[in-house]
Symmetry: C2
Subunit: 392 residues, 2 copies
């Protein structure tokens, strides 16, 4: 058996196990009494009207091969959604439907970063961007973010220190998972200037843009400042806004010049997304605005619950995040985040994600997702706090 593993491609062997998955597997084995805050998803299933749109299309026989880059009606719906968000028209041909936001990231890396070339990944970071890079043969390069009192920030100076002649792209996730860092417009302008000056692609992951806690209605976006010839690719997903995490459906927004190349990459990766699922995506966008607003409100309340539980506590370093769905906090005395996550499952019956799942500089931290019902989240936070208190 070992011989077979040794015979696989070294880059595949190097692909790490996700620390989130490892913890979730451990927690699932403990049974349903563990409150699962380890994943980046809420506790509501996909709303009925979206499921019905998929079922109707299924019964109507929309089960054949279709356009690799997505059916025109869905690409038009996504373009309309962007028009609503950004107040100007978008060309449906600049949108490419993908089999998850995860695949969108992998395709963007495949499009821009080759063998032995580098992509800068600010960390702590959702581990899958680095994982996707490794799978595709690119080298992810860690760029440590600065931290002060639980607030994290990405500076251009940190990116400059990581830059080499082989750097091809930067992965910018704002609002950020797990840190909640949300670039201001000025910070985005500085990042864009840095990318332009060094001829780097930006892979912009702005999927949490509407989960923003600064008083704005959406987070600043590279779409607010980009020019037509900028090297920027945006990844998107149905997962977070419409409670469709399990569907594996997302999209890329890319310059029109890349249309045929991206279509080819999709064709040779998964060859598109089920047409009946795409019908559900249309329903989500066209009829789901009320639901998105309710999700944002649910997250806002969740953030308050978590902040009340953690704020001002001894031993805990925590700052309420500017955006996204996560509390990322440090606990004095935790030497191993992974051990702490296991113990929180065993002794507090709460599943968290260990900070080390997001990079070495996440050591000492744990992440909880607060997109959850008040009752369940309050119970979870009480359990966590009691456990922390029990540590003395």
């Amino acid at each position: 058996m070992g011989d077979l593993l040794a015979a696989v491609r070294p880059a595949a062997q190097r692909t790490p196990i996700s620390g989130i998955i490892r913890t979730a597997n451990y927690g699932r084995a403990k049974g349903p009494d563990v409150i699962p805050l380890w994943a980046g998803e809420g506790d509501l299933p996909t709303p009925r009207f979206i499921a019905e749109a998929a079922a109707k299309a299924l019964y109507d026989g929309e089960t054949f091969y279709t356009h690799s880059r997505g059916i025109p009606e869905l690409r038009e719906a996504i373009a309309g959604y962007y028009e609503d968000q950004f107040g100007r028209p978008f060309d449906p041909d600049t949108f490419f439907v993908t089999g998850s936001g995860m695949q969108a990231i992998q395709l963007c890396v495949a499009l821009t970063v080759g063998h032995d070339e580098e992509i800068l990944i600010p960390t702590p970071s959702w581990p899958n961007a680095a994982g996707a890079s490794t799978v595709i043969g690119a080298n992810p390069v860690v760029v440590p973010m600065d931290e002060d009192g639980g607030r994290w920030v990405l500076t251009v100076e940190a990116l400059e220190r990581a830059l080499t002649p082989r750097t091809r792209a930067i992965f910018i996730n704002s609002p950020a998972n797990p840190t909640g860092w949300t670039a201001t417009r000025e910070e985005m302008e500085a990042l864009l200037a840095f990318a332009r000056a060094n001829e780097l692609w930006i892979i912009a992951d702005e999927i949490y843009s509407r989960y923003i806690w600064t008083g704005a209605t959406r987070a600043p976006s590279f779409l607010d400042i980009a020019e037509a010839d900028d090297r920027i690719l945006w990844v998107g997903t149905f997962s977070k806004n419409w409670a469709m995490t399990g569907w594996r459906m997302g999209w890329i927004h890319a310059p029109l010049a890349l249309k045929q190349t991206l279509e080819n990459l999709i064709q040779y990766s998964t060859s598109g997304v089920a047409p009946f699922m795409q019908r559900a995506g249309i329903a989500a966008i066209n009829d789901g605005e009320w639901f998105v607003k309710s999700m944002i409100e649910r997250a806002r309340e969740g953030r308050d619950i978590v902040s009340e539980a953690l704020g001002g506590r001894n031993r805990v370093v925590y700052a309420p995040p500017d955006g996204a769905l996560y509390a990322f906090f440090k606990v004095a005395g935790i030497e191993s985040s992974q051990e702490a996550a296991f113990k929180l499952i065993d002794e507090a019956m709460v599943g968290t994600a260990p900070g080390t799942a997001f990079g070495e500089n996440g050591e000492g931290y744990v992440r909880v997702c607060f997109l959850r019902s008040k009752d369940s989240l309050s119970t979870a936070m009480t359990r966590i706090v009691n456990y922390l208190d029990s540590l003395g």
Copy 2:
């Protein structure tokens, strides 16, 4: 715009447009009167009982993240299906659910063939195996099959000629798309001996194994002869047997030693398949044997219709295929398969796939898929034959 395209990764730029897709796009634009035989799919939608299983799971809220490598119940169902086919037990942990057979191939290449390493691809071949290799940074190396009177065969000698120190894998598709070549057990043993001697992985695409026209109940398989330590990966799909082409759901069967590595590759590519779709996969396998048998019968009748239309005709070189769903025939006087495919759409209102979509040595050929209702297929073949007659 051109500058942006020039700025993408060279391997991505090199990814070719699929000749099948190009032709299908051309044909779809002509409207619904074109009979579409260009794709590898039939004309029946997914049966109702499979759609219902997906809808039920959707309404039951199976819309959350789930196991990257597939839910246990589906992996058990697939293992049971293999037990039925091969008469011995299979470990469910050796099956990995993927977002299409296409993705299964891409993951197998990612697992075995690195940058500047080579995978041997016998051609004429479905173009996506080579496309997936290019996307992942590997070099596909064409191995021309031998042809005689419309019958194609892959020889070990041809593979030996293509072998270099950088060769890591062979893609073996039997029964083959588009040629219908179906390896005998003896040929498989020779291929396996060659792979063993040269420490190559075999990526075995046996998805047409039950579409076999030699009198056998299934085609010979590497599973009939493989030992536990052989470097073989099998790709599978729900597409062809259960009329689920549009679903994008398949699987890999791989040695247990690769379990964690393959799970990681899936995690960082699409992170799994929607759980409600997987429920449909369970229904297909556990309750769909009658449907698979009806599909095989439909294809058998389709093969007869095509063979009657093409057999013994002047200008046409055609041999009834031993397996799979395609007639791949040469027409004297056709200088450009792509031109011929366009003309068949324009003048005969039939969509075929040009032979060049499957490799340079497909020039002069066209492919039709015969998994179709008798009436529609008979009409299509009459149109094709009349068009060929009109060429004089």
